[in-house]
């Protein structure tokens, strides 16, 4: 009987984290799958959300600013706003330029954010990160299974809400404009500066979702540190979108589940291949395997599990 409960606890924890990644993946789908915008700094926006929420909701701590002890929900909302603001700034700086300049800039933002959270000890706790982040339903903390399941239910409800809202947006007129912009640059030119406005809205909303994801994880785990937000995280979210099928919200969620599972399983396998003191190499091996699988799937089955048919480009010249 205890084993079953342990298993259930593990499963609910896994599912909770997978769904939280799914929220970030939904945001990325909005930016890339629906609008064709290229964000290589996903981790940065998740970090902004996580740290904002943590700083607002934790109790005051020595040597670190922040710690206002605000309610968790407030933390989440402000986290979304902060991430949205950062996304908007990046977008405004780069939307009128070549598409890959957005990629490079977002990559730069990721590096910059990581540098700041690592070194601005007074704000962010530096390499030690921020601990004792309040958990939702903290009263249940002494009953692990109930705690886990309740949090899972909370996250699931949030994901459902986000999914429903996105589906309505994407299937409506706004979403249609986005897809038109993604497919046809001339349509974009015809819409003139309005094209920039639509893209800005999409990028900002996507960034807000990434911030929400970061905030959710901060509160569900209770602890964040700079190491959580390295390039690997961006890679994971992208892998989820590619595997699930970009352009498709359900695909984004499915991809989150599948890639989370593959990540955990491969972690167990590679961990077993190396002695305990060499676990860093095991993690590196996992990265290699998943990286190769992802590259292979990009080349061989680009539409992922549920994605749209790739269209033949109208302009076949390189």
């Amino acid at each position: 009987m205890p084993d079953l409960i342990g298993l259930l606890g593990y499963a609910s924890g896994f599912l909770t984290l997978a769904l939280i990644s799914g929220v970030a993946c939904l945001g990325l789908n909005l930016q890339w799958g629906q609008t064709g915008l290229f964000n290589v700094g996903v981790a940065a926006f998740m970090a902004i959300g996580a740290y904002t929420a943590a700083l607002l909701t934790t109790a005051p701590t020595d040597g670190r600013l922040g710690g206002y002890g605000l309610p968790i929900v407030v933390g989440w909302l402000v986290a979304m706003l902060a991430a949205a603001l950062a996304s908007a700034l990046v977008a405004v700086a780069t939307l009128r330029l070549r598409k890959d300049y957005l990629a490079i800039t977002s990559f730069g933002v990721a590096v910059a954010v990581l540098t700041v959270i690592r070194n601005a000890d007074r704000f962010t706790g530096g390499s030690f990160g921020i601990s004792f982040i309040p958990r939702p339903f903290a009263a249940l903390a002494d009953r692990p299974l109930a705690f886990g399941l309740t949090n899972l239910a909370l996250v699931a409800m949030i994901v459902l809400l986000v999914y429903w809202a996105l589906e309505r947006l994407v299937r409506g007129p706004w979403g249609r404009v986005l897809r038109a912009l993604r497919e046809d640059e001339r349509a974009a030119a015809a819409l003139g500066k309005n094209a920039t406005r639509y893209r800005l809205q999409a990028f900002t909303l996507g960034g807000a979702l990434m911030g929400l994801s970061g905030a959710l994880e901060a509160h569900l785990i209770g602890f964040i540190a700079p190491d959580n937000f390295e390039a690997v995280l961006t890679f994971q979210i992208w892998a989820m979108l590619i595997v699930g099928g970009s352009g498709n919200n359900l695909g984004a969620l499915l991809g989150a589940l599948v890639v989370s599972a593959i990540w955990s399983i491969s972690g167990l396998v590679t961990g077993a291949l190396f002695p305990p003191e060499e676990q860093a190499r095991a993690a590196a091996l996992r990265l290699v395997v998943i990286g190769v699988l992802l590259a292979a799937s990009l080349v061989l089955r680009p539409r992922g599990l549920l994605g749209e048919q790739t269209r033949i480009s109208r302009h076949l010249a390189p």
Partner: protein, 244 residues
Amino acid sequence: MSDALLRVEELWAGYAPSAPIVNGVSLQAARGEIVAVLGPNGAGKSTLVKAMAGLVPVSAGRVQLAGKNITAVPAHAMLASGLGFVPQTENVFATLSVHDNLLIGAQALARAQRAPQIAKIYALFADLARQGLLPAGRLSGGQRQMLAVGRALLGEPQVLLLDEPSAGLSPKVVAELFAHLRVISASGVAIVLVEQNVRAALGVADRIEVLVEGRNRYSGAPSALAEDPTLAAFFLGATRAAPP
């Protein structure tokens, strides 16, 4: 008419196989002959020469040059097969100097040949000789066309395709350009010329091909078209009524 140097037979081409733009077009050009391809907007004239040059996928039919089937030859090998192409827009390397543009054209020649052949191009297009070091983007429209033609000529093509060379040029410059084309054809090069400027084309062509909606509609001497206004009006875009 002497043996055709260039033979295009029932060519079907377009960017997507399900939506062909060129629908079974045939044409020929002999050594030293200038053939003008005319027709209303959207008739597929540009797509035809691009397909011949290997830039647009061909779904059926073939292109033969001096008896050799060159339909499947990749675009960059066309020049070596004897087919030169001068596109309508962006036909020179604007950031490279005039001389560098010509050096690119002469790349396939033997090293010792390059300087003399380039000197010949400068002799043909006197304007360019004075602008050797200028970036090609700063040339006037007419000079740019001459540079584009000069670059293609350096590849010693047997057939030269030009896509609307007169576009954007003043009548005086067009006349000058077309005079040069006549000199080039006199040396034995077959020229196929896609044109919107019907008057100028009729003045230089030995034969005309009219395309409408991607199909051959008329083939013959330029005089016939010039002398019959109804024919001209119909084929060159005025009406869609049935031909007389």
